[in-house]
C-alpha cells in the first residue's frame, strides 16, 4: 500500500512555524467584525442569519440553565464549519484531521457536561445509567454497559470527526491521482473518474457541514441530559 498518500496529513511547518496555527486562526478573519450599524454589509447579514439559525436550532431543546452554553456551542459550531470547509480548498490544511485537535475539543466539553450533571443533580444523572423498566436480573450488566457508553463518548466524538474528514480527504486524493494517471492512456475512463471526483467533492462539502453539526448536536444532547 502506498503510504505516501498519508503525507498530506502531516503537520507542515515552515521555519519552525507550524501551519496548524494559521489554519486555526484564519477563520477569525472571515467573520464579521463589530459594526455599530443596524444593517451591516451583505457578508455580515448572511453570517448573522446563519448564526441565528444555528443558535435557535441548538438551544430549543435545552432548558433555561442550558442556555448559558449558547455562546460556546455556537462558536464551536461556527469554528468547526469554517475549518472543515476551508480544508476543501486546494493546498490547505485541515486541523481537525489531527486527532489532537478533535479530542482536545471533545474531552473538556464532555467532561464539563458530566461534572455539571453530577454536581447539580447527582441522583438524576446517576439515574440515567439505568433505563426504566429493565428486568431485575439485567440491572448490573446494564449499569456496566451504560457506564462504558458514557465513558466512551468523548473518544467517539473526537474520533468520529477526525475519521470522517481524514477518509474524505484521502478519497479525494486517491481518485484525483487515478484521474491524472489514466488521462494519457484511457481518456474515457479518466472522464468517468473525473465525474466521480466531482460528486465526491460535493459529498465532502456536505460531510464537512454535517460533521460539525453532529459534534455540536451530540454535545448539546449530553448537556440536555445533565442539566
Amino acid at each position: 500500500m502506498n503510504l505516501a498518500f498519508f503525507d498530506q496529513f502531516s503537520s507542515p511547518s515552515l521555519l519552525g512555524i507550524p501551519l496548524i496555527l494559521i489554519s486555526m486562526t484564519f477563520p477569525a478573519l472571515l467573520l464579521p467584525s463589530l459594526s455599530n450599524r443596524w444593517i451591516p454589509d451583505r457578508l455580515a447579514t448572511l453570517q448573522l442569519w446563519l448564526i441565528n439559525l444555528i443558535t435557535k436550532q441548538l438551544m430549543t431543546p435545552l432548558d433555561k440553565k442550558g442556555h448559558k452554553w449558547a455562546l460556546i456551542l455556537t462558536s464551536l459550531m461556527i469554528f468547526l464549519l469554517l475549518v472543515n470547509l476551508l480544508g476543501l480548498l486546494p493546498y490547505t490544511f485541515t486541523p481537525t484531521t489531527q486527532l489532537s485537535v478533535s479530542l482536545a475539543l471533545a474531552f473538556p466539553l464532555w467532561l464539563a457536561t458530566l461534572l455539571m450533571g453530577m454536581r447539580n443533580q447527582p441522583s438524576v444523572s446517576l439515574s440515567h445509567l439505568l433505563p426504566e423498566g429493565t428486568p431485575t436480573l439485567l440491572i448490573p450488566a446494564l449499569v456496566l454497559i451504560e457506564t462504558t457508553s458514557i465513558l466512551i463518548r468523548p473518544l467517539a466524538l473526537g474520533v468520529r470527526l477526525t475519521a470522517n474528514l481524514t477518509a474524505g480527504h484521502l478519497l479525494i486524493q486517491l481518485i484525483a491521482t487515478a484521474t491524472t494517471a489514466l488521462l494519457p492512456t484511457m481518456p474515457g475512463v479518466s472522464l468517468l473518474t473525473l465525474t466521480i471526483l466531482l460528486l465526491l467533492t460535493i459529498l465532502e462539502v456536505a460531510v464537512a457541514v454535517i460533521q460539525a453539526y453532529v459534534f455540536v448536536l451530540l454535545l448539546s444532547l449530553y448537556l440536555q441530559e445533565n442539566t
Binding site: R42, L86, Y91
Partner: protein, 77 residues
C-alpha cells in the same frame, strides 16, 4: 503633504526608499501598519452595502497561496 504622511499608493517609485526610511519599524509601528492595511482592505471590499463575492474570494485565494508556499518543499519532489 509631507512624504512620511502619504499612504503607499500615492508615493512615486523614485521616492520609495525615502518613504521607507521614514517608516516606524518598532513593534507598535508594524502592528499599526498591519491594522491600518487590514481595515482599509475591509472598508474597500467587505463593508460595502452591495458587496459581492470578490472580498471574501480574495481572502480565500490568498490563504490558498499561503498554504501552497508553506507546503512547497514537501511536494516539490
Amino acid at each position: 503633504g509631507p512624504l512620511s504622511e502619504r499612504p503607499l499608493m500615492e508615493v512615486r517609485l523614485g521616492e520609495l526608499h525615502t518613504w521607507i526610511s521614514t517608516c516606524n519599524f518598532s513593534p507598535q509601528g508594524l502592528l499599526g501598519a498591519v491594522q491600518k492595511a487590514w481595515s482599509s482592505y475591509c472598508a474597500k471590499y467587505i463593508h460595502v452595502r452591495q458587496g459581492g463575492p470578490a472580498g471574501i474570494s480574495m481572502l480565500l485565494a490568498g490563504y490558498c497561496l499561503l498554504s501552497y508556499g508553506w507546503n512547497y518543499q514537501h511536494f516539490s519532489k
